[in-house]
Amino acid sequence: MAERQLSERPALRVVRRPRARFGFIVVLVAALGMALMAPVGLNLAVVRSQFQVAQLQERMDDLIAERSALKAEHAGLSSTKRVKDTADRLGMVTPPEVGFIDLGGRVASDDGVVPTRSASAVAGIGTGDGLVVASASQEAGPGQ
């Protein structure tokens, strides 16, 4: 009986040791890692961009501040008082007389020729310095 059992036993055969499926696991882990890292990377990119935007915004604010400061400074420097003080310091004087070029009742202006003492002439539009010609008596001393 025992012999029969032995004779019926299947023959031994060499089987290969099952190989660990490292490749699959690596791919799986990599995929999982990618899945986790992708949003992080995306977020990082967004944050980095936002930071850049913030920096640019701050730079823009600084430039706006600088521009407004320069404009105010420019306006201050061109004030009549400062111009007069500078002119006085340089020994400049107002001509005691001014001469006018008579164009037969019309005056020259930047905008062409306009009638004398029209509303625009009175308002100083296109007139002013161009119309007033210093007389020859400019050599008069200070205080004249």
Binding site: F51, A75, T80, G128
Partner: protein
């Protein structure tokens, strides 16, 4: 057996890992879903700052495009008191930079809320100095600050704004809606040290629109100088000058002395901040005699050469009117022109009686007195005159010489502007886009012409000789008005000296008023105000390129 055990270990590991993941998932769900909103709110509170970005206020320009008021971007320091660990230490570090007491700063930093202004509208460099301290919980918020780059030029006219950039006086108040833009809103993500890490949104506001004034910076400056010189020379309290284009109603200058740097308006007394030319009323005195002369001419009762025999005084009911000078002959014959030229009180009252109450009142109303001119400036006074039905018997003796009636300087300038503009009254204005009432005729062209001729005589040979301008013919009138005492009656030692005139007289381009309040060393308008008129006129005529028209 070994395989089974191996499988068992594997399964156990899997279960363990799965359990871990399950715990993590549960925790994630708890964090994200159950408490998600709460954590998000907490994060927002800690990291996100949302604030208004102040809109840039519009610029105020003069007629030639010179900037009279601009806005500067400044740095305000704001604190999140919750994030400041040691307010005392932070305050002590900030104090020397901000120039504030450490105890005051500490109080601000200890607040209960999440937002507090520590210092406002600092120079950007100072703001950066604060940030360089690296104090957790402090950050910079940009704010606009109003700056008046011309300093002490037309301060009462321009007015000023409050800390929140709202116009509180002057042109700033009048045009506040136009000058103010719409605030923006910005949301940023920041770290606890106030550094901005990201901008969530930035809804830009709308900038305010600009205002172009009719003022000419140069003429304004010279007018202020001339009035300041007169105030100083004659020991006066204050003074006013107006330069007006009678054809357009444009005010080229409106000066008030004492003046001050508009940037330091807070240091000035309230009364010095007022634009007296528009908001203050006074009894004008002899400059008002023009009205009675106009009424008499317009009614055809007299012409410039009509002569009156005048005594040194005239009594109307219980009121006796004297001349300003005492060396008057017992009887003299004066024409209407001479009455104006010599500024005769007796003559003016005589004319007033000739004209009568009704015609005189009509002329006063027609010339715009007792009503606002409508100039685009806040707080304009109306002037004052007793209602005609309340006039006493002596009122007719007061009003013709400018007593018993109060006017503003701008009313007076506009009235003389009508004479300069051939009898057509033009509403005065201060800004290019002001909405004005249509011009209307007050007196006929012929009468206006005659009045100008009469006023020329006043400057050529009368009381206004100090107002003469080399190369031009000037027409004008002096005024020396006794000031009204608080308890009634007139002062004998407090006067308002004034001169109002137009140049060139034949076709006036300018009407100029100068009024000096309480001069002490001299008090006649002819001596105190007329020279200032000449000084302003001489410059303004050159500035505007108006050719000489011949000597007085």
């Amino acid at each position: 057996m070994s395989l089974r055990r191996s499988n068992m270990r594997l399964r156990s590991s899997l279960v363990f890992v799965a359990a871990l993941f399950a715990i993590l998932a549960v925790r994630a769900v708890e964090i994200q879903v159950v408490h998600g909103a709460e954590y998000e709110a907490r994060a927002q509170r800690q990291q996100v700052r949302e604030f208004d970005t102040t809109s840039k206020r519009g610029v105020i320009y003069d007629r030639n495009g010179e900037e009279l008021a601009v806005s500067r971007r400044m740095a305000s320091i704001v604190a999140d008191p919750l994030l400041i660990k040691d307010p005392i230490e932070a305050a002590e570090a900030l104090a020397p930079i901000l120039g504030q007491e450490a105890s005051v700063l500490a109080d601000k930093l200890k607040g209960d809320g999440r937002f507090a202004f520590v210092a406002r509208k600092l120079e950007p460099a100072v703001g950066q100095q604060v940030m360089d301290l690296g104090i957790r919980g402090l950050s910079i918020q940009p704010e606009e600050k109003r700056v008046y780059p011309k300093g002490p030029l037309a301060p009462q006219l321009l007015g000023y704004v409050g800390t929140e950039n709202i116009g509180l006086a002057g042109v700033e108040k009048q045009h506040d809606e136009q000058l103010t833009g719409v605030s923006g809103r910005r949301s940023v993500v920041g770290d606890p040290f106030g550094r901005t890490l990201g901008v969530l949104f930035d809804r830009g506001g709308r900038e305010g629109r600009s205002v172009v004034l009719t003022i000419d910076e140069d003429i304004q400056f010279v007018a202020e100088q001339a009035v300041a010189d007169a105030v100083e020379k004659f020991g006066a309290l204050k003074g006013t000058a107006i330069v007006l284009d009678p054809h357009t109603g444009e005010v080229l200058a409106m000066a008030n002395v004492p003046y001050f740097d508009t940037n330091d308006f807070g240091l000035q007394k309230e009364e010095e901040r007022r634009n007296a030319a528009v908001t203050d009323q006074y009894e004008p005195g002899s400059t008002f005699k023009m009205v009675v002369a106009a009424a008499a001419l317009e009614a055809g009762l007299v012409d410039p050469d009509t002569s009156f025999d005048l005594a040194p005084t005239i009594t109307v009911y219980d009121r006796t009117v004297h001349e300003a000078h005492e060396d008057i002959p017992a009887i003299r014959s004066m024409t209407v022109t001479e009455i104006l030229a010599q500024s005769s009180n007796v003559g003016a009252v005589t004319l007033g009686l000739e004209v009568g109450k009704e015609r005189l009142v009509k002329a006063i109303y027609d010339f715009g007195f007792t009503a606002r001119t409508g100039i685009d400036f806040p707080g304009e006074a109306t002037g004052f005159m007793l209602p005609p039905d309340k006039w006493s018997g002596t009122t007719i003796a007061n009003v013709p010489m400018g007593q018993g009636v109060s006017v503003t300087s701008i009313q007076l300038a506009a009235a003389y502007g009508a004479i300069a503009n051939d009898g057509v009254y033009v509403q005065p204005r201060l800004s290019e886009d002001a909405v004005t009432k249509p011009p209307h005729r007050v007196i006929s062209r012929e009468i206006a012409d005659r009045l100008r001729d009469m006023l020329q005589v006043s400057v050529a040979t009368g009381t206004g000789q100090e107002a003469q301008v080399n190369g031009y013919v000037v027409a004008g009138k002096t005024g020396t008005a006794q000031k009204v005492l608080p308890n009634g009656g007139y002062s004998n030692d407090s006067f308002i000296a004034s001169f109002i005139g137009m140049v060139p007289a034949d076709d006036p381009a300018l009407v100029i008023l100068v009024s000096i309040d309480e001069p002490t060393l001299e008090y006649y308008g002819s001596l105190v105000a007329a020279p200032a008129f000449a000084q302003i006129a001489e410059f303004a005529l050159r500035r505007l390129g108006i050719p000489p028209t011949g000597q007085q």
